[in-house]
Symmetry: C2
Subunit: 196 residues, 2 copies
DNA sequence: CCTGCTTGTTAGCGCTCGCTAACCTGTCGC
DNA sequence: GCGACAGGTTAGCGAGCGCTAACAAGCAGG
């Protein structure tokens, strides 16, 4: 047998936190933050209730870490794609493909990030909002460069609208992943092209 | 003086239900169904807590009536616009304008309908889902007629994506209403045009 | 072998929530 | 006038919640 596919010997234990975050994301997406109990999250990973407090300070902390890491991932990916060489249209296409990929692979995270900002601690919300704003700004810059005739405020509204379009993946399970990715990319770029 | 603009003499009392529904919509949109208490809703309309039970059987009934009436309104409006004479492109433009108008005038209702389906009673959810499905079908038919080269499944996905685009109004308060309506319509139609 | 750390367990506290009960008041038909 | 009803009030119930306390099992290092 080859070595354990998980990087650590105590793989099970080391990614308990990730396990919990993934299960909580699924539950939060389906029932909303207040609709999910500590016991539900525990049960979903095979432990029961208060054992979660060995890994997280509070229920709010679970949501906080979840949304923080999502926002950071999007911002990092966005800045990376925006920094690649190429025409403005290429950059925009890259951003679209990146966001579509994320939305397709993690529909639950998309749902949680869209719906549960208001349930964060004040401090966490501040952080997450800041990251989200920066991500939007990456898009705004890319849109403005690709279509200079568009004002910055219009570009920002267009960015939010395109996020809404792409983030429809949770309701969009009729098509196969590849086909849906291609369709969403075409729709998003078509919308942006029509903005100018 | 002309007659009272409200249809009944006891106008204040007659639309208590509407008043409650409007306040609850705003609260549900901001904090989620489980994040809002009976007392919060009461306070928002100037009465306190259990007085709500003079007008609604339960908290679930408030959400149920809210989502039912939204879905019915959308379906009615959608079928009306879809039935008007004109080219398929005109029909699509009419549907877009109708949905944009609703999303702009009632961002809270849009938010509630998107996020709180899971909090409904089984019976209510069944009803609402049926209405929503019918509304989607109105769009699917219109899309298929306007771009016959598109399959029905693709059209359904495109419809959901366009809903997501238009329903971004709650995050989209940078532009004036008229300007935003015009931009969203252009984006939506541009996306649909790019689908074919 | 003992010590201590990690990661579980169960019991239970304190609080909040949806909802009911019991009571009060203004308005209207007769 | 007066009874009935519509639409409010406050008090309080039972259940469920987040979280803590107290304890137990497995394992590591000396």
């Amino acid at each position: 047998m080859a070595a354990n596919p998980t990087p650590l010997v105590n793989g099970e234990k080391a990614n308990r936190r990730e396990q919990i975050l993934a299960a909580a994301a699924e539950l939060f997406a389906h029932h909303g933050f207040h609709g999910v109990g500590i016991d539900d999250i525990g049960a979903a990973v095979g432990i029961s209730g208060p054992a979660l407090y060995r890994h997280f300070r509070s229920k709010d902390a679970i949501l906080g870490e979840m949304l923080n890491s999502i926002s950071r991932y999007l911002l990092d990916g966005g800045t990376t794609w925006a920094g690649r060489p190429g025409t403005p249209d290429d950059t925009l296409a890259g951003l679209v493909a990146f966001h579509v990929g994320f939305a397709l692979n993690h529909p639950a995270l998309i749902t949680v990030q869209e719906r549960n900002l208001a349930n964060l601690t004040d401090a966490d919300r501040k952080q997450v909002r800041a990251l989200q704003r920066q991500y939007v700004e990456v898009w705004v810059r890319a849109i403005c460069e690709a279509m200079p005739e568009l004002g910055e405020r219009q570009a920002r509204s267009a960015a939010h609208a395109v996020f809404g379009l792409i983030n429809s993946t949770p309701y969009n399970r009729h098509l196969g992943d590849g086909e849906l990715a291609e369709l969403l990319s075409r729709l998003a770029l078509g919308a942006l092209r029509a903005a100018g």
